[in-house]
Symmetry: C2
Subunit: 567 residues, 2 copies
């Protein structure tokens, strides 16, 4: 006899489970319950409706209940909310939200994929107002678009600067709105470290979006938002995107075990603590591939894999549960930003000893059109050299580099493997030694103690202490903008000017992107300078790192001129 | 005492060795001899000068001898040809090609990086004419450009359709020339299998370049090229790009061992058969990562890694010689094409049992602007599932997918690892289940015998035999173009129309890109149809595969209408 499979939630996790069950078992009875009016919509694409990139809200719906039925023989019951699970009886209680009618449904296997809810802190006064929105589903985004269009609203506040916050802000800006992003942390986009996030900060303010960091919303008025600092932000619509929390109502009432991170605890096969009840997607606690510790990750790719694994397990198929590494990419105006694995903050929190390599080569051969700097940071374990994570930003193909690193991480690869990695090359697409290979070479040198480096975050301190900083670029480059008290000793002249370099104090060297300074540091060591450091990121990295805070605080820049013309 | 390192050849391999030696040994004496007038030019970018994408020939030169000297303290002697090696005396004889003067130079370490010569078969009459060119260096490309411009030439023949031939043809076409490509094989671009190459064939003729396959040049006249077939091609300039052969003159006269593939034989450290003589780059025989057999590969990335390894070994640093996999990418008009590892032809030649998966999903979420089909073929070992190679073509980010596969291959990964690979996703950059994940899922099904498939190369035969082919797309899609004798049984209706499907003969199913047909094949099997096949590539793949030969031969297409509007 074929199974009766009931699925709670009809988006990424739910719909994927349903389709996979059907492929395994043509005769299973599959019913998917979704409390909203749509199943199978592209939640990741929701923000793009605000700019019209996705013209119609309906376009966001990938498959209707009718098509589910006709193609997959799957019953998708929209506007049906599951209000109780009865594990002992293998039953659920479902309420038709339009009629109020309730009914019980028996299952052989039950899958929970209810997702996560946007966080709406009750402590914020006015949070319940009609002009305060969240972005979770098609009706949400439709409501925002209509509200803004119908009321001809110009000023919008976006609270929270994660994926959704940034994408909403960008699409609203593209629609001609005055947008302010308010973020409680000291940076946007938590997957990135602070140094890399500065590049996004610059991109955001360069695109006329106001960015307020380290401040929270205290009260929402009809025409403004008042922050904890007392600052007032004009806003006739407010989008709350400070994060999500797993939708646990059903799970808790059914007595399912909840993990330490606040998601439903599942085993290797995505089975919850109760037999025949699976859970997948944003609602669960999963395991991190590197740390092997519980984590939560609200991304579509892992949800789809979890869905497949759960369906497989219902039919006795085993599964290699690799856990998650957290790979993601976002377009932030003209800047693409991708990351994978652990960042520095993660390593510090986990107590993992690590080092970093930061390189800023061109993303393709320099003489090709559209060759652009690619800001790339590699994080690797010390002393093993195991690759732990990477962050990449640039106008070009950053996702390629991050996906390669993701593949290396999931194969437990080392920086030595990365150095030897043979990637596809032609001048239009990359460089013979790709960005990732270069990062590995720097990483090998760092790990082998062949040279020392100072992170971009520490350069201001060095300048303020009047450290001896050598600018290894050519004089014409120096003239167009340099670190305020850097000494110009070009890489092309240093061997004749060694006597200008002190031996009794640390010497710091930079160039534009660290290629020349790297060579110069190595050479200076050979010439007996044993306290030489490369400035990571060099001048280009420094400009990107410093700019936003210079603009925000009005402080005196430590460069005589930003060289953003080189971007 | 510091070493005296002499380097023969000043492009990718030579210049990289020199720079690496300098980084290791600030006090080494490094002299690089180059018989041409330039060192360190971007040979991979040469073709782009023909269209003006690289405006000046000088732009192709990355570093002058002066800069080598000033920055790296490396002596780069251009116009200096090494005419003899005396291994016993650790000496070379060098001729200044401008003055004719010769001199002997002693070495501690010698590096051969003379590259490879374009093949110019003497059997072709007229091959020595002034209007016959090759593309090896800056003077070559400069000569072509001047000859064509100065003589206002319109008709150009490009002989050979590898990387250089295709890029030269494309850039000449962009410059407004009438270009004919003549290739002796039955396809362009040997790294691709015939089925994938058809996509490039279409792209080439769609861009008004004539393409003659399976024909050779018999005689070159001043205004035409006469082919073996008797066909005449108007051409007042001829670019020969049929391949290269290692420059072995010096190596042979010095008694260096030559490998079975015709390159200089080197050991793990790129040492030749004589002590203190290294060889790197296009001149050597290297080892294939997968087959572990000798091979030759004329690509810049491996050359740079070999250079580094050779330099390291001079200073006692060991190196993990991984061998090569052959990753490459090319832009062919609007189509990007990348590949890595072994193709089907390679596997057949090597006697490696393999299977393939062919998927054509969109390269990003379908509702995003510029979502385009990505043609992706994965080759994996049977029965191990080890990933052997991949080929990708499309208007979008094919290099990303190929680089991921390259990383998987070099980590000895399996299709099961690929299935679980967590890549960066957002709707602008990909799909939650990336192309490579999808290919792995199909591959797993094939390997597990969960369904059977027929390659796109066999569909014409099926049509001609009047096989039972089901078109699983919707009726409106069928109406706009379909396989001539396919029966329309949409995926959305098949469960009600099972009685229309025969049980006494094989049944072949396709849709647009195999997603629906895959589901339908699985379902039909469950309904007792045990002789059901999926048509790999489905309708889109078929159109791409058939079009070029249809056009060339004037044969009757097996589709009622090509659907290139869906590209």
């Amino acid at each position: 006899m074929s199974k009766r499979v009931l699925i709670i939630g009809g988006v990424a996790g739910g719909a994927s489970t349903a389709a996979r069950v059907r492929r395994i078992d043509e005769f299973a009875e599959i019913i998917m319950f979704e409390k909203g009016p749509f199943v199978s919509f592209s939640n990741c694409a929701l923000p793009f409706h605000l700019s019209g990139v996705v013209a119609e809200a309906d376009d966001l719906v990938l498959m209707s209940p009718e098509v589910f039925h006709k193609q997959y023989n799957i019953t998708a019951k929209v506007n049906h909310e599951v209000i109780a699970i009865h594990p002992e009886e293998k039953k659920i209680t479902v309420k038709n939200v339009l009629t109020g009618e309730t009914m019980d449904e028996e299952y052989d296997e039950l899958v929970l994929s209810p997702g996560a809810n946007p966080i709406l802190p009750k402590s914020i006064k006015g949070i319940g107002s009609d002009h305060v929105f969240t972005v979770r589903n098609v009706p949400d985004i439709d409501a925002i678009k209509h509200y803004i269009d119908d009321n001809n609203i110009k000023d919008v506040a976006v609270v929270g600067a994660g994926f959704i916050g940034i994408e909403v802000a960008e699409n609203l800006q593209m629609a001609g709105k005055n947008v302010t992003i308010i973020e409680a942390a000291n940076q946007v986009m938590a997957p990135f470290d602070y140094d890399m996030a500065q590049i996004l900060h610059k991109e955001i303010i360069d695109n006329d979006v106001d960015l307020v960091l380290e401040d929270g919303v205290k009260e929402i008025f009809s025409d403004k938002v008042v922050l904890e600092s007392g600052k007032e932000i004009p806003a006739k619509a407010v989008i709350m995107a400070i994060g999500v929390t797993p939708e646990l109502t059903l799970a808790k009432s059914a007595g399912l075990e909840i993990g330490e991170t606040g998601g439903i605890k599942v085993n290797h096969h995505y089975l919850t603590s109760k037999p025949h009840i699976y859970a997948v997607g944003d609602v669960i606690e999963t395991t991190h591939f590197i740390t092997q510790k519980p984590t939560r990750l609200t991304l579509a790719g892992p949800a789809q894999r979890q869905a497949r694994a759960a369906a497989d397990h219902m039919y006795g198929k085993t599964y290699r549960n690799t856990g998650v590494i957290g790979s993601s990419v976002i377009q932030c105006f003209g800047m693409n930003a991708a990351s994978t694995g652990l960042n520095e903050k993660d390593c510090q929190r986990e107590g993992i000893a690590y080092q970093t390599a930061y390189v800023i080569p061109k993303d393709r051969v320099g003489l090709m059109p559209n060759a652009k700097p690619l800001f790339f940071k590699l994080i690797f374990a010390d002393p093993s050299g195991q690759i732990l994570g990477a962050q990449a930003m640039g106008q070009g193909n950053v996702d390629k580099r991050i996906d390669v690193i993701a593949a290396m991480i999931m194969n437990h690869a080392n920086i030595e493997d990365l150095k030897e990695l043979e990637l596809s090359y032609s001048p239009m697409f990359g460089t013979a030694k790709d960005v990732v290979n270069m990062a590995a070479l720097v990483a090998m040198n760092v790990l082998n103690g062949e040279y020392k480096q100072v992170p971009v975050t520490k350069i201001r301190e060095l300048v303020e202490k009047d450290a001896f900083i050598i600018d290894a670029r050519e004089p014409n480059e120096y003239a167009e903008g340099h670190i305020v008290n850097a000494v110009s000793i070009p890489f092309s002249e240093f061997r004749q000017r060694l006597d200008e370099i002190p031996t009794n104090r640390p010497v710091y060297v930079h160039c534009l992107s660290s290629q020349r300074s790297y060579n110069m540091v190595k050479a200076l060591q050979a010439h007996g300078f044993d306290n030489v450091y490369n400035l990571m990121g060099s001048f280009l990295g420094l400009c990107m790192y410093e700019y936003f805070n210079d603009q925000q605080t009005g402080r005196k820049p430590i460069v005589t001129n930003y060289r953003f013309d080189l971007l």
